[in-house]
């Protein structure tokens, strides 16, 4: 029997977390593809990582501080120029609360 790592319900839940929505057909296809990919990841369990520190950056810099100096920043019009909808100096979005 084929091993299952992720089912359709979990795919729908993860899609919601990622703010994506899929049709029934897409959900089927993603479930099967994600399952294959996650099964491939099982390889990682062959490796004994007892006591190994996780590496999240190959060259880790600590606290890259710079001086707290005010530099030129984008004018508001430039920041808003790409907005799908803007009003005054604000980005406009659909209603958030009733």
């Amino acid at each position: 029997m084929e091993k299952i790592r992720i089912n359709k319900e979990e795919v729908a839940y993860v899609a919601h977390l990622a703010r994506l929505s899929f049709s029934e057909g897409e959900t089927e296809k993603f479930t099967s593809q994600l399952n294959d990919i996650l099964l491939y990841m099982d390889k990682l369990n062959e490796v004994d990582t007892t006591g190994v520190e996780p590496v999240t950056h190959a060259i880790a810099r600590e606290n890259a501080f710079r001086e707290d100096k005010v530099l030129a920043s984008l004018p508001a019009e430039a920041s808003l120029a790409n907005a799908p909808e803007a009003r005054g100096s604000c980005f406009q979005v659909p209603k958030v609360i009733e």
């Binding site: 992720i6 979990e10 795919v11 993860v14 899609a15 977390l17 990622a18 703010r19 994506l20 929505s21 899929f22 993603f30 593809q33 994600l34 294959d36 990919i37 996650l38 491939y40 990841m41 390889k43 990682l44 369990n45 062959e46 490796v47 990582t49 190994v52 520190e53 996780p54 590496v55 999240t56 950056h57 190959a58 060259i59 810099r61 890259a64 710079r66 984008l74 430039a78 920041s79 120029a81 790409n82 907005a83 799908p84 909808e85 980005f91 979005v93 659909p94 209603k95 958030v96």
Partner: protein, 485 residues
């Protein structure tokens, strides 16, 4: 020989001698674009008018005796670099109409050096792919065989250099996205050390892996471009404040007595026999140059792809959360509320591969799975890095194939994501370990497709890589062919 066929250093000699002008070079490049772009489709956006104006300005500067590091040289940019006032799409519908209000640091440096920008090249959407097939703007063709892919994700940049549609180009490399297309298109491509080049203004894919680098016709041009782009940037907190040498000083120095590690794990089942033969020939060439080759072991090689496809999607799922239809880019129509707008915008704006990776990443970081996937992968990443640290205690550089095969056919791997992922099997490890790598042409298959060999070195050893690649280029005497277009 046409001007568009020449290298940066050859053109610089001509410009210095007054034998040609930037206007002539730029016209030659755009003439070539007019002739072949309909077949290759390397560009998303051409910048003809501004390029011609930049060329005029460059000629003025040259006449005044003010020749900078790249004055008057036409270069192309992957459409992942923000360019002020020029649409920057990252190959995605979701940034279809995005016009950045600022230049990436690399772009500012190129402008300051006097370069002429020809346009923005095609790429896999958000740099997620190995074939430039996931672009919203269509597929780029390999100039050596138009039925085949150019590699990816920086396939447009590699194809543009190979086809003569620019003199050199820039790309980004998260798991091989410079080196693999360079190999498949028969050009030189370098991924510098993590932190060597500022990524300010580079659209983020996987922030612990992304790095910027050049595509060139030869190793000398690679050194010229590295001199322009390398260095610390106060606006990019992962760029490293480490002194940058003059990379040209490493050219032509020879590699007598160098120790070259050949990792046994990179010559295994799955590698194409013609690729293996060409790489074995490359080993003999460096031995002929006086280097000593020795077997080394990178025992965790087999886990690189699995680690990468946890770490990169995890970081991508976080980086791509910013595309929500609020501040810039595409927004879907007819939304009842904010949540619906997010979902509809992102579902219509992203292509299938990007969604797949966002899903893997979100899953791997989600409650209950974090330890099993992200933490585990980061631990194995530590072991992969340690493998390289140990190998570089016994050898100066490591030599491997760049890609297990030459260019594959368009559509061949699009239905099987895992097979596509495995085409990065030899390049991913350098990103995970943060080390620099370069791919240099080392031969051709029977059917005339280019093959690349990869050299890797320790952190901040780009100079050493250039020295080694330069010696290889001199001794291997690989026949200089041009794609028939």
């Amino acid at each position: 020989m046409e001007l568009y066929e020449l290298s940066i250093h050859e053109l610089q000699d001509k410009l210095r001698e007054g034998e040609t002008t930037s206007a002539e070079i730029t016209a030659s490049v755009f003439g070539r674009i007019d002739a072949v772009e309909k077949d290759v489709r390397a560009y998303i956006t051409l910048m003809r008018e501004t390029a011609l104006a930049e060329a005029e300005r460059a000629d003025l500067a040259i006449r005044k005796g003010e020749m900078g590091a790249l004055t008057g040289i036409p270069v192309a940019l992957k459409d992942i670099f923000c360019t002020k006032g020029v649409r920057t799409t990252c190959g995605s519908r979701i940034l279809n109409n995005f016009i950045p209000p600022y230049d990436a640091t690399v772009v500012s440096k190129l402008r300051a050096a006097g370069a002429v920008c020809t346009g923005k090249t095609n790429m896999d959407e958000f740099a997620m792919g190995s074939s430039t097939e996931t672009s919203f703007f269509g597929v780029t063709r390999n100039p050596w065989d138009l039925e085949r892919i150019p590699g990816g994700s920086s396939g447009g940049s590699a194809a543009a250099v190979a086809a003569g549609e620019c003199i050199a180009a820039f790309g980004s490399d998260t798991g091989g996205s410079i080196r693999q297309p360079a190999a498949l298109c028969g050009v030189v491509g370098m991924k510098p050390t993590y932190g060597r080049v500022s990524r300010f203004g580079l659209i983020a894919f996987a922030s612990s892996l992304d790095q910027i680098g050049p595509f060139t016709k030869d190793v000398e041009d690679c050194a010229i471009l590295m001199n322009v782009i390398a260095g610390y940037d106060p606006r990019e907190s992962t760029s490293v404040p480490e002194a940058v040498p003059d990379y040209r000083r490493f050219l032509g120095r020879g590699i007598e007595g160098w120790r070259v590690g050949i990792p046994k794990e990179y010559f295994v089942a799955g590698i194409d026999p013609e690729v293996e033969a060409a790489v074995r020939q490359a080993i003999r060439a460096v031995e002929g140059a006086g280097a000593k080759c020795m077997e080394v072991s990178l025992p965790h090689t087999d886990y690189c792809v699995a680690v990468y496809y946890v770490v990169a999607p995890a970081e991508a799922s976080s980086n791509l959360a910013r595309y929500d239809g609020v501040k810039y880019g595409f927004r879907s129509e007819g939304n009842r509320d904010l949540l619906e707008m997010y979902k509809k915008t992102r579902s219509a704006g992203f292509g299938a591969e990007v969604k797949r990776r966002i899903m893997i990443g979100t899953y791997a970081l989600s409650s209950g799975y974090y330890d099993a996937y992200y933490r585990k992968a980061s631990q194995v990443r530590g072991l992969i890095k340690r493998d390289f640290d140990e190998a570089f205690m016994t050898c100066d550089v490591i030599l491997t194939p760049t890609s297990p095969t030459a260019a594959f056919r368009i559509g061949e791997k699009t239905d099987d994501p895992l097979q596509m992922y495995l085409s990065d099997i030899f390049t991913i490890s350098a990103n995970l370990a943060g080390i620099p790598g370069i791919s240099v042409p080392c031969g051709y298959t029977e059917s005339g497709l280019p093959i690349g060999v990869q050299f890797l070195a320790g952190h901040f050893q780009e100079g050493r890589l250039i020295q080694f690649a330069s010696a290889f280029e001199t001794h291997a005497k690989i026949e200089r062919r041009r794609p028939r277009l």
